[in-house]
């Protein structure tokens, strides 16, 4: 799994493309990219706090949208920087169910290299698509 920030999309904001061999890893990559838009060194985050995330949606794209919004919510509500460590996605009766484990700690400006205060996930060009044998997602974060 991987992600890269895109230069020529959304001049005022931050766009990225994530790729992975399956949907859970794609969601992990997109979550890591969102965190990396907030701080330059996600690897510096210590795992002091755990959050279990349970989401459901009829649309796989909106399920990713919901997961990324969850990270933005915790960044503001508890000043928490969370790394998503594990994602499971199930489909039952036309709905997608996501269970994720996220761990992290409150922002520490001494250790965390602050970047942007991400406002929201936008739906502009937002997509989750099959790409060859794997999956890719395009996400634009409002800054």
């Amino acid at each position: 799994m991987s992600y890269r920030f895109l230069e020529d999309v959304a001049p005022a904001d931050i766009a990225f493309e994530a790729r992975a061999e399956d949907l859970p890893r794609l969601f992990l990559a997109a979550a890591e990219a969102t965190l990396n838009a907030m701080i330059g060194n996600p690897e510096a985050i210590r795992f002091a706090v755990s959050k279990a995330v349970h989401l459901e949606n009829t649309d796989i794209e909106m399920l990713l949208f919901d997961l990324l919004q969850e990270l933005i919510y915790h960044k503001d509500a508890g000043r928490l920087l969370l790394r998503v460590r594990r994602v499971e996605i199930e489909k039952r009766e036309g709905r997608f169910f996501l269970t994720a484990a996220a761990e992290g700690e409150p922002l520490d400006s001494e250790r965390h290299e602050r970047r942007a205060d991400v406002k929201a996930v936008t739906l502009h060009r937002f997509s989750v698509q099959k790409a060859g044998k794997g999956w890719k997602a395009l996400v634009i974060l409002d800054i």
């Binding site: 503001d76 920087l81 965390h112 205060d117 406002k119 929201a120 502009h124 409002d142 800054i143």
Partner: protein, 485 residues
């Protein structure tokens, strides 16, 4: 793609796309720009302005101002007025995620020579008093219940508790409290995201600057006098919005509107980010009430920042803020939808005017302008990049064609990701210091993203707005000290 072939030049600073340009357009789309700015507009602007022209209830024309660039749904710089009696819609995409992102301009009676020796201390203390960047929280400790009061009462809540002067309310758009707010229409998530953030700047293009007025940059002596400006004067300008609270309100209602727009109201839009509902519907009215809470929270945010600015100046210059002349010039909103009366086809109609990355710019004599400015017009504050400068302008009668709207800033021309590759924050800070601008930032990469060359030329944007009759120049301000998130 470039400029659309159907684009027609209608004056030296305005262009129009006819209703035949795109299926579904109900009115033309007008873009205000000089030849040079039009040549540099990103392609998305033409398409997005045309998409906005297809929304139900839109009257006269959709607009994009000279600082326009790609946005979500509406372009940044986009304006559209909807007739609410004719099924006109309200759209979060016409307001933006940062509801009531706006500008506040504060004057002083200090001259440049008095401030420059203390500039380093001033910048340092402001950086510490006004938290900036990701993860920052304000000094005001509120309960969730208090926060709901703030959302309904705006800057008035702050002034009643000693965080400001009563004249501050007179000099704030809508007196710092837009009517119609109802905190019961706001989600708990929105409150959780915002209740500790009052008095914080945020990041991105938000800033607090100490600026100077150069004699050659006062364009109209009478207007400058009306606003209390003089050559050599130091002013303070800041730009910020409703923080996580407004962002969550926008996200919540964008999702709600997507779920009902077509199934309940039969509305289809060419872009998901144009999701909307009739203003006169349960969802439309609820969003208006919640969005107005975010407008008010933002007025309160800027009011608390002003309070901190006054405290810092008082400490550094060892004098009361009143003696230092720290009076507001004005506070304007950018990302809003407001009910206003406008003349359409010879009759006055009640319209919902969406302004996204656009400033209300009422002309002389109009209601809604502080009494002391009523004869000259509404102050319009346009923020430039941190390396160039900013402007004070005044609304004009000719802006009726644009629902009395003016630009809000320079407008970006380069992506943040590209800017980050071209500049290093620490180098930029040193370069700016050599040019006489002291900068403190919460983020080096964030600073690099805000390099002056990533923006349009503010002077060209302002010239285009003036030539189009949207507003008139009063003064240009030169940055001396800058706080960035």
């Amino acid at each position: 793609m470039g400029r659309p072939a159907a684009l027609k030049r209608i004056s030296d600073s305005a262009w129009e796309l006819p209703v035949t340009y795109k299926t579904g357009m109900r009115v033309p789309a007008r873009i205000y720009a000089t030849e040079k700015l039009a040549a540099g507009m990103d392609d998305a602007v033409w398409e997005q302005a045309a998409n906005v022209a297809s929304l139900p209830g839109v009257v006269k024309r959709s607009l994009c101002l000279p600082d326009g660039h790609f946005g979500y749904g509406f372009p940044i710089g986009g304006v559209a007025a909807m007739d609410i009696a004719q099924g006109g819609v309200i759209s979060p995409g016409g307001i933006g995620f940062d509801i009531n992102c706006g500008m506040r301009l504060v004057k002083t009676n200090l001259g440049r020579a008095e401030v420059e020796p203390s500039l380093g201390e001033l910048v340092e203390k402001l950086f510490s008093a006004v938290p900036a960047g990701v993860g920052s929280s304000g000094f005001l400790k509120l309960s969730r219940s208090d926060f709901r009061d703030v959302a309904e009462q705006g800057a008035r809540w702050c002034v009643e508790r000693g965080y400001g002067w009563s004249e501050d309310l007179e000099l704030t758009e809508d007196n710092g409290c837009t009517p119609g707010a109802d905190a019961s229409k706001v989600s708990e998530r929105a409150i959780e995201r915002g209740f500790s953030q009052i008095g914080t700047l945020g990041s991105g293009n938000h800033y607090l600057e100490i600026q100077a007025v150069r004699e050659k940059d006062l364009f109209d002596a009478d207007l400058a006098k009306a606003f209390g400006l003089f050559p050599g004067q130091i002013v303070v300008m800041f730009h910020c919005g409703s923080r996580g609270f407004g962002h969550q309100v926008a996200t919540d209602y964008l999702q709600l509107f997507l779920s009902v727009m077509e199934s309940k109201y039969g509305i289809r839009t060419p872009d998901r980010e144009l999701a909307c509902a009739p203003f006169d519907s349960p969802e439309g009215r609820d969003y208006f009430a919640a969005m107005t809470c975010a407008l008010n929270m933002s007025f309160a945010n800027r009011q608390m920042i002003l309070h901190r600015v006054r405290e810092v100046f008082a400490e550094v210059f060892r004098a009361a803020p009143e003696r230092l002349g720290l009076h507001m010039v004005y506070d304007v909103s950018h990302n809003t939808a407001k009910l206003e009366n406008h003349v359409v086809g010879g009759e006055t109609r009640r319209l919902l005017v969406h302004r996204k990355g656009a400033t209300r710019a009422f002309g002389p004599g109009m209601a809604g302008i502080p009494e002391r400015y009523r004869l000259v017009g509404q102050p319009v504050i346009i923020g430039g990049s941190m390396e160039t400068g900013s402007y004070l302008l005044v609304g004009s009668k000719e802006a009726e064609e644009a629902f009395f709207s003016a630009p809000h800033g320079s407008g970006r021309t380069m992506s943040r990701v590209k800017a980050r590759k071209l500049w290093r924050g620490r180098d930029l800070q040193r370069d700016m210091e050599r040019k006489g601008i002291l900068v403190r930032t919460a983020s080096w990469s964030g600073l690099a993203e805000e390099a002056g060359a990533a923006y349009k030329n503010i002077d060209e944007v302002v010239e285009a707005a003036e030539r189009a009759g949207l507003c008139r120049r009063v003064a240009r301000f030169t940055p001396l000290g800058c706080i960035k998130g």
